[in-house]
Symmetry: C2
Subunit: 333 residues, 2 copies
Amino acid sequence: MHKQEVTIYDVAREAKVSMATVSRVINGNSNVRKETRERVEAVINRLHYQPNAVAQGLASKKTTTVGLIVPELTNLYFAELSKGIDDIALLYKYNIIISSIENRLMKEDEVIQSLLNKQVDGVIYMSNRLPDKVANAFKQTNTPVVLAGTKDNRDEFASVTIDYQKADTEALNLMYNDGKKNLAIVVGDPDTVVNKDNRIPAYRKFLADHDIAEEHIYTKINNYSDGYNLYSQLEKDGVDGVIVTRDVTAVGILNSVMDAGKNIPKDLEIITASATQIASVVRPALTTIKQPLYDMGAVAMRMLTKLMNNEEVDGIHVQLPYELLKKQSTLNQ
Amino acid sequence: MHKQEVTIYDVAREAKVSMATVSRVINGNSNVRKETRERVEAVINRLHYQPNAVAQGLASKKTTTVGLIVPELTNLYFAELSKGIDDIALLYKYNIIISSIENRLMKEDEVIQSLLNKQVDGVIYMSNRLPDKVANAFKQTNTPVVLAGTKDNRDEFASVTIDYQKADTEALNLMYNDGKKNLAIVVGDPDTVVNKDNRIPAYRKFLADHDIAEEHIYTKINNYSDGYNLYSQLEKDGVDGVIVTRDVTAVGILNSVMDAGKNIPKDLEIITASATQIASVVRPALTTIKQPLYDMGAVAMRMLTKLMNNEEVDGIHVQLPYELLKKQSTLNQ
DNA sequence: ATGAAAGCGCTAACAG
DNA sequence: CTGTTAGCGCTTTCAT
């Protein structure tokens, strides 16, 4: 970067006003006479002046930039959340610094620290774990944070989610009513708040409520091939209905079932807990708990703008409605 | 953002050195005596000092931030490119400001201008169109730009791509050798450089070389349902082999064919030109021109780091090798 | 090897 | 409504 060619000072000189007035014009401050404003604007256009956001940031202590923490870039679940975030960010003129934390090159807290050093005004956090170190960094720098599509057991961070327990219960119930009694749940990391405190308890409660003794919880099933390989186990365990948290995992199971010459949904019903595009284009199409991902992102970002401006927010834990979308991987259509 | 609690000045005072020396320590300048360095580092750790990147940016005129322009967030093609970019960016300690331009709320050049105002050190551009206004903005601000997975007819911007003409020719040839003589090409925007100057010419040349008179070029087919709806037309036109640029579009065609009770690849062969995960999990799996998306992103970002540091680059137009990956949507497996 | 001092480009009291 | 004056927190000559 070379020295900036035209600065606020040049505009001031050409328009025969002080920098302060130019600054007022830029920032839409109403305390400027119409004539003056127009004269300044004319000069701005003539010189093609563009304010230096870094200097603005240093002087005003606001960067109009928010950080986005995402576990993986190549996961449509986060991409769809991000889209909602991005639209609202654009609306409120915030830029987004995105940081994926899947990379083991740098530890998560270093990634977040580097974000904080950039003086972001706020953070949307989509990872399903929030280590103490990271939480402390947020608190120390007094940076507003909103969790999107995930939860934390500390109550202090705002969040936007769905009612995972209710959704899972409803999904299990659907399969149960289809006559499936040997139900299973397939998750990735069993220790995340969403899994440990919501999904798995809901599953266990369902079993208890229906006097089912045998529990089938499969953990650390993270991707397509994990799903594909899991089916032989499911078959061995006599599972006839399964709820899967990641849809690409569900597709792995789906393909495995079909390759084994079995039938979906007759031999196995599948319900996936996140409805990204991938769940709807495979055949048979997957019945899903349709989370309103775009809206969740949008609501999270909107809430963040309020927190950044110290506005009132009514309730920092928002739950949005989901929909149980019946497709071809369950019987009762 | 409140006033920063601990600044370089505090560290200087506590360590009994000048700000200049602290700055040298932070930036790894070797002109600091070992003892002094250690004393300063001790204070930095004790006070938990973190440099303010905004102030650094203003003073040094480098923000260690790059801009990423992406057409859509929810497209795995760009997501996989982005992952390669992100990994290399992390390696060289750059942050990424991502801007999607799918949003019609703000015009593209405004989005780019806002990025430039943030004083990004460079830009990776993934949109398939580069308007004059945008190109001029890049030139005026002297910001290095690398196009990733796309081309521009101006020769001035660096790019990382594959040889689209060669790839398409090879794909067409595969289908031709399978006995398919009524070949078609399906694209989105027909006026992008990649389509207009590469894919479509390659298709036409193939027809000419094989004395095929009838041309089937379908344009503005952008998404799953466009693809799904297109099949009736393809059938009417007697098309028996098709090359599709977007894989989700290809999946639309695929499902439409199957719903019509036809067979893939017997009745229709499909080759998709971008191998994202979605192409590999559907059944039948799609034969694809496998672009090395991750590598393309990584190479683009590496090249950008060189441009930002005024280092030598040998050739600003890089073509990476692709692979024609035969799956179940073509006969000759 | 270290320090003093002058900015980087802008905002924000404060005064008038 | 407008100008003056301090900074914001850091880097970077230029001396020494």
